[in-house]
C-alpha cells in the first residue's frame, strides 16, 4: 500500500427524489495515487465527483479529505485546502485572456511575484505561451480544456480531481493531456473521471468501475478490461 489516505468516502449516497444516483460508496485514495473512475453513462461517476468537490451535498455518508469531513464544505473551501478541480464542461472565464485565467488561479494561493512566475511556468507547461493574450472564448475546445487544466496546475494542488479532461480532444491533444496528467501525478494525488478507454490506458494506474451507483470492481486496467462483468456492463447483455 502506498502512503496515507488522502480521500475517503464512507457509505456515500446521493438521492435525487426517488432516484439513487450514488449508493453507499466506500472509496479510498492514497497519497500520490492516480485513480481513474470509469463506468457507463448514468453509473454515478459524475454525481460522485460532484459530492467530492462540494457541488452537491451527499444525502447520506461522509466525504473525508485528509482527516477533514467536508460534507458541508462549499466548493471554494475544498479548493482552499489545496484541491485542484476541473469540471466536465470546460468552466473557464470566457471573456478573459488565457493568462488572466491562469493568473486568477495562481494568485489565489500565492503572493503577486510568485503568482507571476507561476503563470509563466504554467503557460509553458500547457504549451499556450503563444496565445496567452487571446480571449478564452475565441480559442479551440482542446485549448480551453488546457486553460482549465492550467488553472488547476497553477494553484500547485496536492490533490487533483478531473472530470473528463480529454473530452472532445483530437488524438494528438489527448496524448499531450495524458503527459500533463502524469506530470501532475509526480506532486499530487489524482482522481480522473473518464469515458475514453484509450486515454485511460495511457494514464491509468488503478481503475474503479462504477455501475448503477456503486463500485463494481477496483483493480489495475488489465484486470478490469479482462473482467467479464465489466464487459457486460459496457456492452450490455448478450443475447444467447
Amino acid at each position: 500500500m502506498k502512503g496515507e489516505i488522502v480521500v475517503e468516502t464512507r457509505g456515500l449516497s446521493m438521492h435525487f427524489g426517488g432516484v439513487v444516483a450514488v449508493d453507499q460508496v466506500d472509496f479510498t485514495l492514497r497519497e500520490k495515487e492516480l485513480r481513474c473512475l470509469i463506468g457507463p453513462n448514468g453509473a454515478g461517476k459524475s454525481t460522485f465527483f460532484k459530492c467530492l468537490t462540494g457541488q452537491l451535498k451527499p444525502t447520506f455518508g461522509d466525504v473525508v479529505i485528509r482527516d477533514l469531513n467536508v460534507n458541508h464544505a462549499h466548493s471554494h473551501e475544498i479548493a482552499g485546502l489545496g484541491v485542484g478541480i476541473k469540471t466536465q464542461v470546460p468552466n473557464v472565464f470566457e471573456g478573459l485572456t488565457v493568462q488572466e485565467n491562469i493568473w486568477l488561479a495562481a494568485r489565489r494561493f500565492h503572493p503577486a511575484a510568485r503568482a507571476r512566475s507561476l503563470v509563466e511556468e504554467t503557460l509553458d507547461r500547457i504549451r499556450l505561451t503563444d496565445i496567452r493574450r487571446e480571449v478564452v472564448n475565441e480559442i479551440s475546445h482542446g485549448q480551453r480544456q488546457w486553460v482549465e487544466l492550467g488553472m488547476v496546475i497553477a494553484a500547485e494542488p496536492w490533490l487533483v480531481l478531473l472530470d473528463e479532461p480529454a473530452a472532445g480532444m483530437t488524438h494528438e491533444e489527448v496524448q499531450l493531456t495524458a503527459e500533463l496528467i502524469r506530470e501532475i501525478n509526480k506532486t499530487a494525488s489524482l482522481i480522473v473521471v473518464e469515458h475514453d478507454m484509450q486515454f485511460i490506458r495511457m494514464i491509468a494506474d488503478k481503475v474503479t468501475v462504477f455501475h448503477r451507483g456503486s463500485i463494481l470492481i477496483e483493480d489495475t486496467m488489465d484486470v478490469v478490461a479482462a473482467d467479464p462483468m465489466v464487459r457486460e456492463v459496457y456492452l450490455g447483455h448478450r443475447n444467447k
Binding site: T53, H76, K86, N91, F93, L96, L104, A105, R107, A155
Partner: protein, 353 residues
C-alpha cells in the same frame, strides 16, 4: 498592450476632469453650475451601478435606494450634529451598511440574478411608500422632522471644523466634481486590484471562481457594499445640489433612470455610465424647456434604440469600432493609413469632454 492604451486614456480623463473642475465655474453661469452639481451626483450614482453591474455582474435595479438612503442619512445627521462633515461620513457608512445587510440576505441566500433585480427594486419602492407616510410631527429622528411627502431641507455643506462657514454653490460644485474624479479613480484602482479582478472573474463564471478557491458570496457582498457606499456619497451631493430631499428619490422613475444611464453609456467601462448620466441629464433638462414631446417618451425611445441597436452602449461601441478599424488596417497598409486612423480618435476625445 491594452494597459498602456488604457493608461493614456486615464491620463486624458484626469486632465479633462480637472480642467472641467477648475474651468466650469469661470465660464458658466451660477444657475448652470448648481444644475451641474446635481448632474455630477447622478453621474456618481451611475458610476456606482456601472461598478457593480459592469464589473461584478450584479444587476441591482434599486441602486437609487442607497442613493436616497445616503441623502436622507446626510440630512438627518447634519441637522442633528449641527455640521455636515461627519454627516457625510455617516451617510456613506449607512448606505454601505444597508447595502451590506441587504446583500447578505441576497448573496448568502443564493438568490438568482433576476430575483436580485426584483428584490432591490421592491426595497426601493418600500422606502418610497414608507417615507411618504412620515409627514406627522411624531416622525422625527432627533431634531430632524422627516416631512413625509414634502421631504426635508438639506443643510448646505460647511467647511470641516467650522459649521458656520457655509460653502457657496460654486464651492459645492468643486467638492462634487472632486468627489466624482476621486470616486472614478478609486473605482479604476479597485477593478485593477486583485479583488477587482476576482470580481470580474465571478462575473465571467461563478462556478469556476468558486472552484479556483474564491468565496463568491463574500466577494459579491463586499462589491455590493462598496457600490452602496458610492451611491450614498452621490446622495449627499444630490441633497446639496437640489437643496432638498423628498421620497421621490426612491421612486420607480429614478430606479429605472439609473439603469438607463448605464445601458446607454456602456457596461463594462467606468467612464461610460458617467457620460451616459451627464448626456441624458442634459437631454432631459433641455426637453423640459419645451412641451411638445413628452420626456418619458423620448427616454423610452432612447432605451429601446440602444437595447436593439447598440446593446453594449456608447463607450464600448466606440472602442470596438476603433479596434476594428485598427485591426483592418493590417501590416501592409499600416503606414499609409495610420494618419487617417487618427480621425476617429478625435471624435472620441470630443466625447470625453
Amino acid at each position: 498592450m491594452n494597459r498602456t492604451r488604457e493608461n493614456s486614456w486615464l491620463i486624458l480623463i484626469a486632465i479633462v476632469g480637472v480642467v472641467f473642475l477648475i474651468g466650469a465655474p469661470q465660464v458658466l453661469e451660477l444657475f448652470t453650475i448648481i444644475n451641474l452639481t446635481t448632474a455630477i451626483a447622478m453621474a456618481l450614482l451611475a458610476l456606482s451601478l456601472g461598478l457593480i453591474w459592469g464589473f461584478g455582474g450584479i444587476l441591482c435595479f434599486g441602486q437609487s435606494t442607497f442613493f436616497g438612503i445616503g441623502a436622507y442619512a446626510y440630512v438627518i445627521s447634519a441637522i442633528n450634529f449641527g455640521g455636515t462633515s461627519w454627516a457625510i461620513v455617516v451617510a456613506i457608512l449607512v448606505a454601505a451598511a444597508f447595502a451590506a445587510v441587504l446583500g447578505y440576505f441576497m448573496f448568502y441566500g443564493r438568490v438568482s440574478d433576476v430575483y436580485l433585480g426584483v428584490i432591490t427594486l421592491t426595497v426601493s419602492l418600500i422606502f418610497y411608500n414608507l417615507m411618504r407616510r412620515t409627514s406627522g410631527p411624531e416622525y422625527k429622528i432627533g431634531d430632524a422632522q422627516l416631512g413625509g411627502f414634502n421631504g426635508m431641507n438639506a443643510p448646505p455643506l460647511n467647511v470641516p471644523g467650522d459649521a458656520s462657514w457655509i460653502l457657496f454653490p460654486e464651492d459645492v460644485f468643486y467638492v462634487a466634481m472632486a468627489a466624482l474624479i476621486i470616486g472614478y479613480f478609486l473605482c479604476v484602482w479597485l477593478i485593477r486590484s486583485h479583488f477587482g479582478r476576482v470580481a470580474v472573474a465571478i462575473r465571467e463564471n461563478e462556478l469556476r471562481a468558486e472552484l479556483v478557491g474564491y468565496d463568491v458570496r463574500l466577494h459579491k457582498l463586499i462589491l455590493f457594499a462598496i457600490g452602496g457606499g458610492l451611491a450614498g456619497a452621490a446622495g449627499v451631493l444630490f441633497a446639496n445640489g437640489v437643496g432638498r430631499i423628498t421620497p421621490d428619490v426612491f421612486n420607480l422613475y429614478n430606479a429605472a433612470l439609473t439603469i438607463i444611464w448605464v445601458i446607454v453609456g456602456g457596461r463594462g467601462t467606468l467612464i461610460g455610465p458617467i457620460l451616459g448620466a451627464f448626456g441624458l441629464f442634459y437631454l432631459i433638462g433641455s426637453l423640459g424647456q419645451q412641451s411638445s414631446i413628452n420626456n418619458n417618451l423620448v427616454l423610452g425611445v432612447i432605451l429601446v434604440v440602444f437595447v436593439l441597436l447598440g446593446p453594449k452602449g456608447i463607450v464600448p461601441s466606440i472602442i470596438d469600432l476603433w479596434d476594428r478599424k485598427r485591426g483592418r488596417s493590417g501590416a501592409f497598409a499600416r503606414q499609409g493609413r495610420r494618419r487617417r486612423n487618427r480621425s476617429p480618435r478625435k471624435v472620441e476625445t470630443h466625447h470625453e469632454g
